[in-house]
C-alpha cells in the first residue's frame, strides 16, 4: 500500500507559519485545583515520615515487605498483615543525572533522582527520591545511602520530609 500511494495526508506547520500569522489558533489555560486525601496506607506512611521513620507493610502470605505501605497486597489481594518500620538507609538501585527541570529549563548542576532499595523491605523494593551531598560523577548503582531528614519541627508529613539521601559509610 505505501508502495502504491504517492501522497499521504497531513500538513506540517513550522514556526514561520505562526509568525506570518497564516495559522489561527485559540489559546486557553485550564485551571484545576485538587486536594487529595492520603487514605489509610499512604496516610500512615506520611504520618510516620513526620516522625522520622520510613514505613512499609508486610504480607505474610506473599512473604513480602513493601514500601510505600498499603493496606492490601496487590499480589494475593488480601489485607496486609501489619505496618513495619524500616531503616532510613538503603542501596541505590538506579539513578539519573538530570539536566532538565520538570518544566524543561536547562540546569548546569544536575538533579540526581534515584530509586533507593530501602533496608528492611524485600529485595528490589524501594522508593523514588533524590540524592545529595555527592559529586554527580561519584554516584554508583549499588552504593549505600542514608536519608537526610528535615529538622523535626519542620516536617509536615510529606515525602519531602526527607530532603534527599546521602552516601552512607560502609559497615
Amino acid at each position: 500500500m505505501t508502495a502504491k500511494i504517492k501522497e499521504f495526508p497531513g500538513t506540517s506547520l513550522n514556526e514561520q507559519d505562526f509568525s506570518d500569522g497564516k495559522i489561527l489558533y485559540n489559546f486557553d489555560k485550564l485551571n484545576g485545583a485538587f486536594s487529595w486525601d492520603t487514605g489509610i496506607g499512604i496516610g500512615a506512611y506520611l504520618a510516620s515520615l513526620k516522625n522520622g521513620v520510613i514505613l512499609g507493610s508486610h504480607c505474610k502470605t506473599c512473604r513480602k515487605i513493601v514500601v510505600p505501605p498499603r493496606i492490601f497486597c496487590e499480589w494475593c489481594f488480601r489485607p496486609m498483615d501489619e505496618f513495619i518500620p524500616l531503616q532510613d538507609t538503603g542501596i541505590v538501585n538506579t539513578y539519573s543525572l538530570c539536566y532538565v527541570t520538570w518544566d524543561v529549563q536547562r540546569i548546569k548542576d544536575p538533579e540526581i533522582p534515584a530509586v533507593i532499595n530501602i533496608d528492611g523491605a524485600s529485595p528490589l523494593h524501594g522508593i523514588m527520591h533524590m540524592l545529595g551531598e555527592i559529586d554527580p560523577q561519584e554516584v554508583k548503582i549499588g552504593m549505600r545511602v542514608q536519608a537526610v531528614w528535615k529538622p523535626a519541627h519542620e516536617r509536615q508529613g510529606s515525602i519531602t520530609d526527607i530532603l534527599y539521601f546521602k552516601p552512607a559509610k560502609e559497615n
Binding site: 495526508p9 500538513t11 499512604i42 514500601v67 539519573s96 532538565v100 524543561v104
Partner: protein, 388 residues
C-alpha cells in the same frame, strides 16, 4: 476456543509531523478514509468502530473519545474508546479483534489518533501526572526520569554500553528515511551523532528519544468470510496478548519487562508459536527510547536477557537480516504520536506481509510478524502477531 479468524484487510495513515495544521478529528478522518479506500469499502460496510487515543490532558478536551467520534466514523455505530497509555496503539486492534472473533461483528474499523502539539509549551508536561500524586510528585519529577532510571538499571545489570544502545536509534532512523510519513528519518545518521547529542537526563540523550508528533492511523478488520471476499491477501491476526504489572514501579525489577513476557506468551500460545526466534520474521517492538526496543526484545523472548544489542551489531535486526526489527523506522524514526504510533506498527506489518512496503520491503516474503507496545506507568505490555 471457538473464536473466529480475523484479518486486517485495509490500512491508512497520515504523515507524522511535529505540528499538524489538521485538527485531531481531521487527522482521524484522513487516516480512516484512506483505510476504507485501500480496501474499497465505505462506512456502510463498517459495523463498529474502536478508537485509541492517549490521555485527555494532551488535547485539553474532556471525553476525547466523544470529541473524536465523528472523525473516527463512529456516528450511529457501536463505538468504544480504549486507553492503556503508550500500549493503546497495539491494544486497540486487539479490542477490534475480539469484537469480531467473538462473532459479535463482521467488520470493524480501528482508528488511533494523537495530537500532542496542542499542549503548550511542550507535551512533556502533560505526562507529569503519571507520577504518584502524593508520594512522587512533590519531588518535582519530569517524565525523562522514569526512562533514565530504567535505562541505567538495564545497562548496569547487563553491562551494556551507551554505544550498544545508540545502534538502535541509528538503525531505526535510517530505516525511517524510506518511510514516506516519517518525521525523523535520516539515512546518514551515525552512532557518534547519537552519543554527541545533548544530555537530557543521563543516560538519556536527545537522540535516544522519539519525537513528540501529531498523526493518525486506521486499519479495517474483517471476519474470515468477508476478508476472503475483499482481498486475495488478507493478513490474519494470529495471536494477541496483553498483561499488566504492579503500578508500584519502584517495587519491580527494572531490568526486565516481565509484563511483556507474559503478554508475548499469551500471544505465542494463541498463534501456536513454539520457537519465536525462528517463527517471527519481522518484529516491531515499541521503541519510544532506543533502549526500550532492546528491553522489549528480551521480554518478547526474541533475545536472551542482556543480549538484544547483539541482534543489531551482528546484522540480524537490519532490514535484510534474519529478523528485521522496526523496518518501518519505529517511533524513533517515523515519530511518536502515542496511540497512532502503536497502530502504525500494525499497519507496517500489514504492508510488509503483503509485499507492499515499497522501499522498506523486507526481502524473502516474510510470513509472520509481531508488533508490541508498552505503556501506563511502565507496566503494561500489548502484543499482536500477524501472519499471511
Amino acid at each position: 476456543m471457538g473464536m473466529r479468524k480475523v484479518a486486517v484487510v485495509g490500512a491508512g495513515m497520515t504523515k507524522f509531523v511535529r505540528r499538524a495544521q489538521e485538527t485531531p478529528k481531521e487527522l482521524s478522518w484522513e487516516a480512516a478514509h484512506m483505510a476504507l479506500d485501500s480496501c474499497e469499502m465505505t462506512m456502510d460496510d463498517i459495523e463498529a468502530v474502536c478508537l485509541g487515543t492517549a490521555p485527555d490532558a494532551f488535547d485539553g478536551i474532556h471525553l476525547n473519545g466523544e470529541y473524536l467520534s465523528d472523525g473516527a466514523g463512529a456516528w450511529r455505530k457501536p463505538y468504544m474508546r480504549s486507553y492503556v497509555g503508550g500500549g493503546t496503539g497495539v491494544f486497540v486492534p486487539i479490542q477490534g479483534w475480539y469484537h469480531i472473533a467473538s462473532g459479535l461483528f463482521d467488520v470493524v474499523m480501528v482508528v488511533a489518533e494523537e495530537k500532542m502539539s496542542s499542549f503548550y509549551p511542550h507535551a512533556q508536561a502533560a505526562f507529569l501526572t503519571i507520577f504518584d500524586h502524593i508520594t512522587e510528585r512533590p519531588l518535582k519529577p519530569n517524565l525523562l526520569w522514569i526512562f533514565a532510571l530504567e535505562m541505567n538499571r538495564y545497562m548496569t545489570t547487563y553491562g551494556i554500553s551507551k554505544a550498544d544502545i545508540a545502534q538502535v536509534a541509528v538503525q531505526h532512523k535510517r530505516n525511517a528515511a524510506d518511510h514516506p510519513c516519517s518525521l525523523l528519518g535520516d539515512a546518514d545518521i551515525t552512532v557518534d551523532d547519537i552519543l554527541n547529542s545533548e544530555v537530557l537526563a543521563w543516560p538519556v540523550q536527545r537522540l535516544d528519544v522519539s519525537p513528540v508528533s501529531d498523526g493518525a492511523v486506521a486499519v479495517i478488520l474483517a471476519a474470515e468470510h468477508i476478508a476472503k471476499r475483499i482481498t486475495d491477501k488478507p493478513v490474519w491476526i494470529e495471536g494477541v496478548g496483553w498483561h499488566l504489572d504492579t503500578s508500584y514501579w519502584t517495587n519491580r525489577d527494572l531490568a526486565y519487562p516481565r509484563y511483556v513476557e507474559y503478554a508475548a506468551r499469551m500471544a505465542y500460545d494463541m498463534a501456536g508459536i513454539k520457537e519465536p526466534r525462528k517463527e517471527i520474521h519481522i518484529a516491531e517492538p515499541y521503541d519510544p527510547f532506543d533502549y526500550k526496543a532492546l528491553h522489549h526484545l528480551e521480554g518478547l523472548q526474541l533475545a536472551e536477557r542482556g543480549k538484544a544489542p547483539e541482534l543489531y551489531s551482528d546484522g540480524t535486526a537490519s532490514r535484510t537480516g534474519n529478523m528485521p526489527i522496526c523496518p518501518s523506522g519505529g517511533l524513533l524514526g517515523v515519530g511518536n504520536p502515542i496511540a497512532a504510533a502503536g497502530l502504525m506498527k500494525i499497519a507496517e506489518l500489514f504492508w510488509q506481509l503483503r509485499g507492499e512496503a515499497g522501499l522498506r520491503q523486507v526481502p524473502g516474503q516474510p510470513r509472520r510478524g509481531l508488533a508490541q507496545a508498552w505503556g501506563d506507568l511502565m507496566q503494561v505490555g500489548t502484543v499482536v502477531i500477524m501472519g499471511r
